[in-house]
Symmetry: C2
DNA sequence: AATTAGCACTCTGTATGTTTAAGTGCTAAT
DNA sequence: ATTAGCACTTAAACATACAGAGTGCTAATT
């Protein structure tokens, strides 16, 4: 045997014993045991517990050896020298990606979701708010919902109403029934019957071209060149400066008003939040909204479910928390938003993920 | 001197020394000292501190005597035998009613309020949400805003739009520019031009009678008797069952969607919330919304500012918290709601009260 | 008669030491 | 390769001592 061959063999063996990319069977089993044990008790899991509870008939001493390597590779850590082990963010991530078997969502839960999202005549606001509460109730963590971006949603109808002198209300109805209204001021008063003529003209375009608000704007800007009545320039100045904005970004909801947060009463009872600093961080994170909106924004544009596990290295803005998100998309109506559940790192992923999946799918169907 | 007279004199003296309804000057001064001392340090105030800081040149021993009577009367208490004194809910109440000198709201704060509530074209939702954030920012506690009851608000316009077969969207515009929309299903499809005829008919009534939604409903029920086209009965069945409800209560906002809560990040930093149970109670109270809505509802209907100081005896639903509320009312538009600030009992009342006063007045003016 | 100095007493919070239980890493034996 | 055994580490629980803050009461003073 060549020296090189021997060296290669050693490397292989080392890799077999401990593959950093994809743990071997035994390590996986033990990591799974630690994570599930920690889910149950919320306190560090020791080698003895694993030795007794796992299928591998190994002594605690052997388990300890493997645990030492798992720790070296960053999947678990010890809060102090002689304590048991706790999964790290990397450990949870590996669990979610490779170890977890997701539960099926129960029929009772399915029915609950269907009933609560279809009963009553609700506008979009009402539905999204209801979804945030529903997610909190089902998961026992905190549900969050990002309102959709309507910039590309198909229009159905636009109506102008004169509220008082020089003050006009624009009502925009999208094809899916969502309405948006903006009041704005103009420099010269316009009578209601003239306004109605304007609305009718716009509605003709909408019906003919089947366009979005962005699309409508483009058409209007184009028509402005050959505009004899000065009609489009009034629209452009007065109306579009108020219902869209110049840079082309449609602020369907004000930044501070586009996140629905469900009740967090159950979440704060989790043992990780018996620590005062932890609970304050949680409340500030949720109440500040900014970072959650940012993460939900990622998912909105990504088309697939995402799991943000907050650590010091990655997603530090939610360090110590987990956020599971999924988009809701209506291809027909061209609207798109996202939902999520915030909980501790020690979240019941296998239960929560199917809930998020089902709710996002169901929501996509009804909006 | 008669025995009776002597007895009366004794009683009077006792009353002078300690009048349960209206403390004598010295007691008031000491109670004020305790409350203001407690505002500053958030820890029990002892007799020595008062002796040194107050204008009354008394020894700590004398102060102790008076403190004992104040305690007997329920204005202050000791957390344990040899601690200083802390104001009770009754103490705070007395302070707010009789001792407090409210500060004037600063020009800078006034300007801040005006700028933040008038800038940008905002719908009512946006304004109320902004008010909740504004109240949080100014007070450093948590601002809350109850959405108005629109049942008596004057109508401006109603519009029906056919979304798809048998599915109609009703847009209701109130005189102050608030819009509400409800989608509903009917048993027989109606074409858009017929719907427009219906809207026009309703708008004629609205313009002529200048009525509220409740008023419109009554008119329609009356007209149903002499209804040849069967028009009003369709309206009554389809539309009013969805936009109002049978019992006459107009659910402008769903119960769970009518409270705006500002950021609570500053509030949880108050020393009373370093206790874990306290912070959980706070978060649950705010996140549950029910009790806060109830208290804000009181104020909405009462026309005057109210201060709820939560103790075990009174307003126990916010025990350990204070809620200062004021209504906002637009007489012209007949709409009415309320705003509030939630904080610890040890709240900076003299600063917060003028803020609430000014914001509620300003808001009344712009809605 | 009102006020106060003085003092014994009570309670909290902090520091300190002790013990127990849990869990580890390492070594030598299997 | 695995494990029994053991010395070691740490947190948590408990007991003890002690300083500091503040009280209520009594006797002395104004």
């Amino acid at each position: 045997m060549h020296l090189l061959q021997i060296y290669m063999k050693t490397l292989e063996e080392k890799a077999e014993k401990f593959n950093y990319n994809d743990l071997n069977e035994r390590s996986r089993e033990i990591l799974l045991g630690i994570i599930e044990g920690y889910f149950g008790t919320a306190s560090p899991v020791g080698s003895k517990f694993i030795a007794e509870s796992s299928k591998l008939n190994l002594s605690s001493a052997s388990i300890r050896n493997i645990m030492a390597s798992l720790e070296e590779a960053g999947y678990i850590y010890q809060p102090h020298f002689s304590a048991g082990r706790i999964p790290t963010a990397k450990g949870y991530k590996f669990y979610v990606d490779s170890l977890m078997k997701t539960e099926k969502i129960s029929i009772k839960e399915k029915e609950d979701i269907e009933i609560r999202l279809t009963s009553a005549n609700r506008d979009l606001n009402g539905i999204l708010n209801q979804v945030s509460i529903l997610l909190s109730d089902l998961s026992h963590y905190a549900g969050v919902v990002l309102a959709p971006d309507m910039s590309e949603a198909n229009l159905l109808h636009i109506e102008f109403i004169r509220i008082k002198e020089k003050n006009i209300l624009a009502i925009i109805v999208f094809a899916n029934g969502v309405t948006e209204n903006k009041s704005f001021y103009i420099t010269k008063d316009i009578k209601q019957n003239e306004l109605t003529r304007y609305s009718n003209k716009l509605n003709e375009i909408i019906e003919k071209k089947n366009c979005s608000l962005d699309g409508l704007k483009e058409i209007i800007i184009e028509e402005m060149h050959s505009d004899k009545e000065n009609f489009y320039s009034i629209l452009n100045m007065g109306i579009f400066s108020s219902i869209g904005n110049v840079s082309g970004y449609w602020d369907y909801k004000h930044y501070d008003n586009c996140l629905y947060v469900g009740p967090e009463g159950d979440l704060i009872e989790e043992p990780e939040f018996s620590n005062n600093e932890q609970i304050k961080f949680l409340i500030k994170t949720i109440s500040d909204k900014k970072n959650i909106i940012k993460l939900l924004g990622h998912t909105k544009n990504s088309k697939t479910k995402q799991i943000f596990i907050g650590s010091e290295d990655e997603w530090s803005e939610i360090s110590g928390l987990s956020l599971i998100t999924a988009p809701y998309i209506s291809e027909i109506n061209m609207i798109r938003g996202s939902i999520g559940i915030i909980g501790p790192l020690r979240m019941n992923y296998s239960h929560v993920i199917p809930i998020i999946d089902f709710v996002s799918e169901f929501l996509s169907g009804i909006i």
